[in-house]
């Protein structure tokens, strides 16, 4: 699958010359009059970040994730390694490498952050040597984060034990991952984070802040139905939101009387939550229009009806990465 490697930006260098390639890249940039980092800037690395592009990735999809990682690393300067496996054995047997660098200039003189990417393309025959090669590209002693995107089966990803066990967080997006990705017996299951859950932070916060002001029994007494409606492109978000509501409500008290936990189809770019109770004058509704970035909250838990407007959004992909990694 060299198509992915070819689609991503960077300067191709010999694998044995990655370090030199990175240094030359900045020299070339300086020679062309572009911003080149001083030594301090380059070493302002906070984390090691490995983006692994699996077999389900198309070149366009890979480029999108690459660009997300670039935006993320502007905020959190990282040493990034991008893994581009080649699944076709007819390819050349050697590894290939590219280097990519970028300096982000902020508002102040000191606000200059530079990041370096190493892209590795490798045939499956080179897989046993990959881990050593990756280790030489990372910054020693700094934490490692691993984002596996577009992989076909969990068991195949499990072969990357080095990354899965050493990473402080393993990030997956359950909307594009195999069904068992969240339940697979990974080497360090506590490090697994679902980017869908992270993306939903603004929704969880708005709804959570609102409901947290009510006594717990009030939220569960007489609870009859919990419904989440979602647009067709937000099926994963709807599923994760319903699971979140189930966990949170169960922590508030017995929800055995609630037999109706339902996902429903809704309008495009809309998400909605409805809690229904035994009496019709007790309810909670949140309806978010993500396109308009607007939500409405309506509730009555016995103190009279409350109606509020609120913002409605999902975290951007790069913000979801940082939320999943650091919080």
């Amino acid at each position: 699958m060299p198509a992915i490697f070819n689609a991503l930006p960077g300067i191709e260098v010999p694998v044995s010359g990655i370090a030199r390639g990175l240094a030359d890249m900045w020299l070339d940039a300086a020679a062309r009059g572009s911003a080149a980092p001083g030594a301090d800037d380059v070493t302002a690395t906070q984390v090691n970040f490995v983006l692994h592009l699996g077999s389900r990735c198309t070149p366009e999809d890979a480029l999108r994730q690459f660009e997300t990682t670039v935006r993320f690393s502007r905020r959190y300067p990282s040493r990034v390694v991008v893994l581009c496996p080649r699944f076709s054995e007819v390819d050349a047997p050697d590894m290939r490498a590219k280097v990519y660098g970028e300096c982000f200039l902020g508002k102040s003189k000191s606000d200059k952050r530079c990041v370096e990417f190493v892209l590795l393309s490798y045939p499956m025959a080179a897989r046993p040597y990959l881990e050593s090669q990756v280790s030489t590209c990372l910054s020693a002693d700094l934490p490692l984060y691993y984002w596996a995107h577009g992989f076909s089966t969990s068991s195949r990803l499990a072969d990357y034990r080095y990354l899965l066990s050493r990473a402080r967080r393993v990030l997956i997006d359950s909307s594009v991952s195999p069904d068992d990705a969240l339940t697979y017996p990974w080497p360090n299951p506590n490090s697994l984070r679902d980017l869908v859950y992270s993306r939903l932070l603004p929704v969880r916060q708005t709804v959570g802040q609102f409901l947290a002001r009510y006594e717990m029994p009030r939220l569960t007494e007489g609870l009859k139905a919990v419904r989440v409606a979602h647009g067709p492109e937000l099926a994963a978000e709807g599923r994760v939101l319903l699971a979140w509501l189930r966990r949170r409500l169960s922590d508030c008290g017995p929800t055995g009387g609630c037999l109706d936990w339902k996902l429903e189809a809704g309008e495009a770019r809309h998400l909605a939550i409805e809690l229904s109770y035994a009496t019709s004058d007790k309810f909670f509704r949140w309806h978010g229009d993500l396109a308009a970035k607007h939500a409405t909250l309506e509730a009555d838990f016995g103190h009279g009806k409350t109606e509020l407007a609120a913002g409605a959004s999902l975290l951007s992909p790069e913000a979801a990465l940082s939320e999943a990694m650091f919080f």
Partner: protein, 511 residues
Amino acid sequence: MADTHRHPFLHGLSKHRGAPPTVVVIFGASGDLTARKLIPAVYNLGVDGLLPADFFLVGYGRKPIPDDEFRTLAADAIKEFSRRELEADVWSRIAAHTSYVAGAYDEKEAFDRLAQHITAIEKKLGRELQVLFYISTPPSVFAPILQNLGASGLAGKYLGQPHHAKVIIEKPFGKDLASAQALNATIRSVFEEHQVYRIDHYLGKETVQDLLVQRFANSIFEPLWNRNFIDSVQITVAEEVGVGSRGGYYEQSGALRDMIQNHTMQLLALTAMEPPVSLDAEAVRDEKVKVLKAIQPLVTGPGGDVARAQYAAGMLGGKNVKGYLEEEGIAPNSATETYAAIRLSINNWRWQGVPFYLRSGKRMARRVSEIAITFRRPPGTLFADGGRFDLAANTLSFQIQPDEGLSLILNTKIPGLETRTQPVKMNFRYATTFGSNTPEAYERLVLDAMIGDGTLFIRGDEAETSWKLYTPVLDYWKSVGRDGMDTYAAGSWGPANADALLATGRAWRQP
């Protein structure tokens, strides 16, 4: 905060994402601080999604301002002073919950109207709101505001419940020990201490908070953080600006009251305190008070622990600038100091014999606030030949502003066949590592007060302990008029009389 103690619907959210339904009432709503800092802080919290949907903002001031006009003023303040552009959808949601109440600060009926206004918001909303009062007025009206908050029942609103009323008070917390005690007595007559948040915006700065992390989360520093390894500590809060149009105010204040007694003492307390048993607000503040109480009384008079001066005409940024006595509103025989330097001794096991040097001044060479920890020089004669070895004392400096970060001076071999040394500086800059678009101090502090975290606020006994130290100095200076008042050229690093505070071989830093 452990998730187990929180409402289940806040599990998985950081504590700053769990602010309760709140109405913030700003006293001094048409003032400068409100426009420059408070409104932009509220707005940026909204941009970051940190305000609850049921957040309300009420301005209170003497000047009658219609709600619409107050909202326009607020939007203008955001456009001018916010670190981020005004986003219409964010502002429209905040603006829809923004209103204004006009009234005098000593008018009980006006406070009753304010109480009714808040009750009406709650009634319309269908739920109770935490009320957070922000007193952003001149100190002369602190007392009537506090008294009327008590008389109107607003101070005690929902007391005993998690969403009880809270109050943020801006400095100055008095002008000497007696006035600080009087202010605290007034505060405590209407609020319980846990409801009170005395703000020092320095504590909201990232580097100041990072000081605790650097000290207590890195095992390499704490074993060295004592008299066995540290030679001295210098804390500098230097300003480039003069008094400008605030001469009248500054004449009643001076560098000691305006900067040393509050900002630099907070920096000192965080630098010198013992490790708290937890990051709980009371645990941190207990340790701060303990170390402040261990500071020895200052010796005033010639050869003592204090120096003061006024800036004279000089040159700053290549331009000639006036001296303090030529500034507008300044008495020709003014005895107000624009610079103060202090030598402190802390009488405890950790710091016995380590001098702490504090200084603050206006019209200094550059705007900088920093804490510099200078370590003792290594023993022995291995690198004693001054002709070959240029050894610097290891110095760890925390730069609070600008260019927040820290640096460490180390001695290194110069490449070459011969062994020669040179000091090198290892730098960590927040902006380079994390970007410079970090929250402003007021954003952090307003949100902390909303969620009831007092760690970064000053407790009443902290303020009094600090005043207890400095009131004798103020009394002495008042008694001697201009005697002992030195001058320094505007644009310099301070007066000669401050050098006398330093022991031989030490010098004021020029950061």
